[in-house]
């Protein structure tokens, strides 16, 4: 393979990996109404991807913000958390703009296994709150 082919392949790969689908996923294991959160998050045009998991008394949300809003992503997460806390006063709401939280929440939704879910949610929250 010539060097030109390698460079071409790398370019194509890098361009294609930019197209990872950003979708809005919601999973509800409680009797709360998830549509309120859905509406709030879909209306916000700074957000391009969401994974939200309602479980027991917890609401765990990972968000992906648009590139130029990334400078303020913690502020956006805090703002949304505040709004959602008003909407769901009975739930412990946690919102994070960290991509680790988004991917792990997505994994939990895909796995669809309620056993030990609460422990995993607690683990994720403690991870996200770590500073260093």
């Amino acid at each position: 393979m010539t060097i030109r082919q390698v460079i071409m392949m790398l370019c194509v790969l890098l361009l294609l990996t930019g197209c990872i689908p950003n979708d809005f996923k919601f999973e509800n294991h409680t009797d709360e109404d998830a549509s309120k959160a859905e509406e709030l998050l879909k209306k916000d045009n700074r957000i391009k991807g969401v994974a939200a998991l309602f479980h027991d008394d917890h609401l765990l949300i990972g968000i992906r913000v648009k590139t130029f809003s990334r400078f303020n992503k913690r502020g956006i997460a805090r703002e949304i958390e505040k709004k959602l806390k008003e909407e769901y006063p009975d739930l412990t709401v946690f919102v994070s703009a960290d991509s680790k939280i988004l991917t792990e929440t997505n994994k939990l939704i895909l796995k669809d296994d309620e056993k030990g879910l609460k422990k995993k949610i607690h683990h994720l929250i403690s991870l996200a709150e770590e500073e260093t």
């Binding site: 960290d98 680790k100 500073e131």
Partner: protein, 151 residues
């Protein structure tokens, strides 16, 4: 020959540095180093319990470790020659500066040779690094207080 005349003569004789070419080279080499570091950060985030925020520490440590190995094997010299500032500015340049000084002064003994000279080049990196960190923190504090960015 006075000072001005000499400066003029020196300008005429010395070959012109290909500025644009050097800039592009530095951009490509530095960018490649950062791309590798991004993949390492992703690796730590995917397979270990690190978040975007905490993954930076092990990533920096890994990058320094790799550059130290490459310096020892004499590969980083070539990267630095090709990339110029692109090889020196990322954290890998720091690892290179520490290890190359240590290798150079190894013959003078471990205490007075390696120990006292290991930060000969990297010392200035630390001094100006601390100073610029102070300045950046100051600017960020002001921006946060003004509400432009968040912590």
């Amino acid at each position: 020959m006075d000072k001005e005349k000499y400066a003029k003569l020196e300008q005429e004789i010395s070959p012109k540095a290909p500025l644009l070419k050097n800039v592009i080279k530095a951009f490509l080499v530095g960018g490649t180093i950062c791309l590798i570091a991004q993949f390492i950060a992703l690796f730590y985030m995917t397979f270990f319990d690190f978040t975007e925020r905490t993954a930076s520490n092990p990533t920096v440590a890994t990058m320094i470790f790799i550059s130290m190995l490459l310096t020892g094997f004499g590969v980083y010299k070539k990267i630095g020659q090709a990339g110029g500032a692109g090889g020196a500015v990322p954290i890998t340049g720091f690892g290179n500066a520490v290890v190359s000084a240590a290798i150079e002064h190894k013959t003078e003994g471990f205490v007075l040779g390696v120990g006292s000279n290991i930060f000969k080049l990297a010392g200035s990196v630390i001094v100006f690094g601390v100073f610029s960190a102070f300045l950046v923190a100051l600017i960020k504090t002001i921006l946060v207080k003004m509400g432009v960015v968040s912590w």
